[in-house]
């Protein structure tokens, strides 16, 4: 998100889900779309069926490859080399959209200089993908537009995730694939309201609508609206919060609807940190592994028990509606927060209902300025929607980019290795993925008996050659250890993983994969590198 905000001026999906099936070329990189976003994947599969080029870049032979024109099976963590290599092919072949570049972009010359290191021979060596295939994919992407880029955590969860994102915005810019239908750079957001949480300023550096806390004018605006004085000091990000807890600097944590016990990279560190807190409040719908560590647990209402809005991956703000009563004394999260604030004597939390909160959001968040519950009755609206009569914005950057200059920024890049690569002691590269049948740490899906029946335990996916070299059969228990922790799972011997690469999900508390993963952070986005770490395997 931080990446696209710099290069394009907005961190969100530039185009809409319905536009995907209209693309002539789809480049899906770092997304296991049919597993993690199954209904959106229908659009990509439909396009491919009707003749569009589907280029899948993924270290594993994922299900989407069945529908692909080209599968670029690059080594994990080499996305920058792969994509910059493609861009060099495009520029060298004279396929760059110079009119778009000259009229809509900045910093192209410096960017072209940075392409020098990405000749096909070097790129082939780094990525393991035949140069010819990279060249073919690049030429299709550039010449058979509109071309749409889809990406997900396979791009962002790296210590150079922001560089990965920039390589993709560079690719879209160099081919003029922005600001028009069925093109764009489209990060697929994982959780139902991750877009909305970011929009609402549940981030350490911005108020709602990405208004910077460090900027005097936004501070002034929110101080006036809320009637308090505010800090202009940026707060800490997710991983940094756990570090500060560990160091004793943060002593109280209010944690809502999250299960870092299983989801945090290098989970043992997070667990140790939470144990050091003076006071931990966890608010959730179930007693999760994390909630068991809490001093106070507060019962929250689920989505079916409250009113409100979610903002989906394509920036569409949609209404959810209360269908049933919350169990026992459970309450909607906003009511709990308001009750705590009121008990502490704070003003400005006496809302009668969710519609009133949305009115306050709209009054302070320019991109939500035209949103109200009345309007949402007729269906969702895609932000930016600045005024009551604005219809919403399906495609971003049509006239100009959201950057200060209004022009998109080319980002010169160089290739950097992942923080932890396999060596003699830890010879396998572990990457994480997700199952179609489970969601995140499974606190909801693992309580659905049918889903549990379809997928009930963790499997370490491993190539037949690697399995043979370790004397492992299918369905055998194996010990997986990294420099940070160890766990066990059964093997699934499959050619989906190339030799040297093993893969696990993180849905199962019995095999907590994130005790293994690397906490190396991207310096800009502060995302941990859960997609690449080194492990060793031992038959149990």
């Amino acid at each position: 998100m931080a990446g696209l905000a710099t290069s394009l001026g907005s961190g969100a999906m530039t185009n809409s889900i319905a536009e995907i099936s209209g693309a002539s070329t789809i480049f899906a990189i770092g997304t296991n779309t049919t597993q993690a976003h199954p209904v959106l994947a229908l659009q990509a599969k439909k396009a491919a069926r009707e003749g569009a080029n589907l280029i899948v870049a993924n270290p594993k032979e994922i299900d989407l490859c069945r529908h692909a024109t080209i599968h670029l099976q690059h080594r994990p963590g080499t996305d920058v080399a792969l994509v910059m290599g493609m861009i060099k092919v495009i520029v060298d072949a004279g396929l760059a959209d110079m009119e778009f570049i000259n009229s809509r972009c900045e910093n192209f010359d410096a960017f072209v200089d940075s392409l020098a290191e990405f000749d096909l021979a070097s790129v082939e060596k780094i990525t393991g993908v035949p140069g010819e295939l990279i060249s073919k994919a690049a030429k299709i992407f550039a010449s058979e537009g509109p071309s749409s880029i889809l990406y997900c955590m396979g791009i962002t969860q790296h210590c150079h995730g922001t560089d990965n994102v920039w390589s993709l915005s560079n690719l879209a810019l160099v081919t003029g694939n922005l600001g028009k239908a069925s093109a764009g750079v489209n990060p697929l957001r994982g959780q139902n309201n991750v877009q909305g949480s970011c929009d609402m300023g549940a981030l350490p550096d911005v108020y709602p609508g990405y208004q910077k806390v460090a900027k005097a004018e936004s501070k002034k605006k929110f101080e006036a609206a809320w009637g308090v004085s505010l800090s202009d000091q940026e707060g800490l990000t997710h991983s940094e919060i756990f570090d500060d807890i560990h160091d004793g600097k943060i002593t109280a944590l209010y944690l809502i609807g999250e299960n870092p016990y299983l989801s945090e990279a290098n989970a043992n560190h997070a667990i140790e940190s939470m144990n050091r807190l003076d006071f931990l409040v966890v608010q959730d719908i179930f007693l999760t592994e994390t909630a068991e560590l809490a001093d106070v647990v507060l019962p929250a209402a689920s989505f079916a028990e409250k009113n409100g809005t979610f903002s989906n991956t394509e920036r569409r703000i949609q209404r959810i509606r209360k269908a049933v009563d919350a169990p026992g004394e459970a309450k909607p999260d906003w009511q709990i927060v308001a009750a705590i604030a009121s008990r502490m004597g704070a003003q400005g939390f006496d809302f009668e209902d969710e519609a009133q909160i949305m009115n306050e959001i709209a009054s302070l968040t320019p991109s939500y300025g035209g949103i109200s519950y009345e309007r949402l009755e007729g269906g969702g609206i895609q932000w930016p929607c600045p005024t009551q009569d604005h219809p919403g914005t399906p495609t971003l950057h049509v006239e100009k980019f959201g950057t200060p200059s209004g022009k998109a920024q080319f980002m010169p890049l160089s290739f950097r290795d992942s923080a932890e690569l396999p060596d003699d002691e830890y010879p396998f590269l572990l990457t994480t993925d997700r199952s179609l049948f489970h969601y995140h740490t499974g606190s909801m899906t693992r309580r659905v008996a049918g889903l549990e029946q379809l997928d009930s335990e963790e499997f370490l996916k491993i190539n037949p050659k690697d399995a043979a070299s370790l004397g492992l059969e299918d369905n055998e228990v194996v010990q997986i250890a990294s420099r940070r922790g160890q766990t066990q799972a059964k093997t699934k011997v499959t050619k989906i993983c190339p030799p040297g690469l093993v893969s696990m999900t993180f849905h199962f508390a019995e095999s907590p994969t994130n005790v293994l993963t690397s906490p190396a952070l991207d310096p800009v986005a502060k995302i941990p590198e859960t997609k690449v770490c080194a492990v060793k395997l031992e038959k149990v």
């Binding site: 976003h37 209904v39 439909k46 969860q157 957001r189 959780q191 139902n192 309201n193 991750v194 909305g196 949480s197 549940a202 108020y207 806390v213 809320w226 000091q233 707060g235 600097k249 943060i250 002593t251 109280a252 209010y254 944690l255 809502i256 609807g257 999250e258 945090e264 179930f286 001093d295 507060l298 019962p299 929250a300 989505f303 979610f310 989906n312 703000i317 209404r319 509606r321 049933v324 026992g328 459970a330 909607p332 999260d333 906003w334 009750a339 705590i340 604030a341 008990r343 502490m344 969710e354 949305m358 969702g380 969601y439 909801m444 899906t445 309580r447 049918g450 029946q453 379809l454 502060k526």
Partner: protein, 345 residues
């Protein structure tokens, strides 16, 4: 597409070039009996039930017959009636007669067609009935596959192919042994099936039927709570229980489609392990507490932790309104910008 007018049973109806006669009739609210047609799928022309007669006395299946301006169509010609009645008789003759306890009762296309064409007990007595007795495939936790009720319309096969591009099922074997099958006729749970249930909701009979389905008493329009796609859902409710989820066909994001989690993953809502009261840790164990007790304790502890000693982790799983208030609380009441959420995980 240019507009055309055709006449069906003496009624002039408008249509657009490129439509089939069946589509034009349905668009005008006219019923032509049919079984293998589904508006989301390409016409297959398999069941032969939707036959009509054209003004040149040719018989044609209306699902494959393109409209033409000035076309005159009869759906009640004696020859049409005879053909479709015989076709339906043959389907009904081998069909189980357990309608009252069948999942599809009241919502069964075969019932509707049989009734419309006027199948009687006398008609059926002419046939030697041979109801099939293939074991029901109960391997999938969310739906059963009863081949004995299957009318081989292929809507499931085409849904899995045309809409889902999964191709877990297809026709197998020949003649009276024809069957819808997975690869190597394995139980459906061991096939490539992704359990999205799109075939189940389109099955015109109850060959594919959800397990333990309950008709909802009312439906509430909402949004799925799993991934970021934001599919529209209709939550089916009885009393205070969510008993079903259907895709919202009016929602522009999914137009009615759902995945396995969206359609079948709702049973966590009424799960007995849901948290029902606040809990406070006393002597190392979490014990039930009142809201007053919990709020007092939190207010006291938070009041002593203002500033950068405090952090809040909001959630990508809760609403915009929830998130807005949490960041407002953290900034305005706790006096810190230490607020983040799980976007990066």
């Amino acid at each position: 597409m240019s507009k055309v007018t055709l006449t069906i049973d003496g009624l002039q109806i408008p249509a657009k070039e490129g439509m089939t006669v069946l589509e034009a009739a349905q668009a005008s609210g006219l019923y032509i009996p049919n079984l293998c047609n589904h508006p989301d799928l390409k016409p297959a022309g398999l069941c032969r039930v939707c036959v009509v007669k054209m003004d040149d006395w040719k018989i044609a299946i209306s699902c494959k017959l393109p409209v033409k301006d000035g076309m005159v169509i009869s759906t009640e010609d004696p020859e049409v009636q005879q053909i479709r009645k015989s076709t339906v008789e043959l389907l009904v003759a081998n069909h189980p007669m357990t309608c009252l306890t069948c999942e599809a009762d009241g919502d069964c296309e075969l019932q509707r067609v049989a009734h419309y064409v006027g199948i009687t007990q006398e008609n059926l007595n002419r046939y030697r009935r041979s109801v099939r007795s293939i074991p029901i495939d109960r391997s999938n936790p969310f739906f059963d596959f009863d081949h004995n009720k299957c009318i081989l319309c292929g809507i499931c096969v085409r849904t899995c192919d045309e809409l889902q591009n999964i191709n877990a099922i297809d026709y197998a074997q020949r003649g009276v042994d024809s069957i819808i099958s997975t690869l190597a006729n394995k139980p459906i749970a061991e096939s490539r099936c992704e359990s999205c249930g799109e075939c189940v909701i389109r099955c015109p009979v109850a060959a594919l039927a959800p397990k333990g389905a309950q008709e909802p008493m009312r439906e509430v329009k909402s949004i799925c709570s799993y991934c970021g796609v934001g599919c529209g859902v209709m939550l089916g409710v009885r009393g205070q229980k969510v008993v079903s989820v259907e895709g919202d066909r009016d929602n522009p994001v999914n137009k009615g489609s759902l995945c396995v989690k969206g359609r079948f993953g709702y049973r966590f809502i009424n799960h007995p392990e849901r948290l029902k009261t606040p809990l406070i840790k006393k002597n190392g164990t979490l014990e039930e507490a009142s809201w007053d007790e919990a709020l007092d304790l939190i207010a006291e502890k938070f009041s002593n932790s203002k500033g950068d000693k405090f952090a809040a982790l909001a959630s990508a799983r809760i609403t915009n309104e929830d998130n807005y208030l949490i960041q407002k609380f953290t900034r305005a009441v706790m006096g810190t910008n230490n607020i983040d959420h799980c976007a990066r995980l």
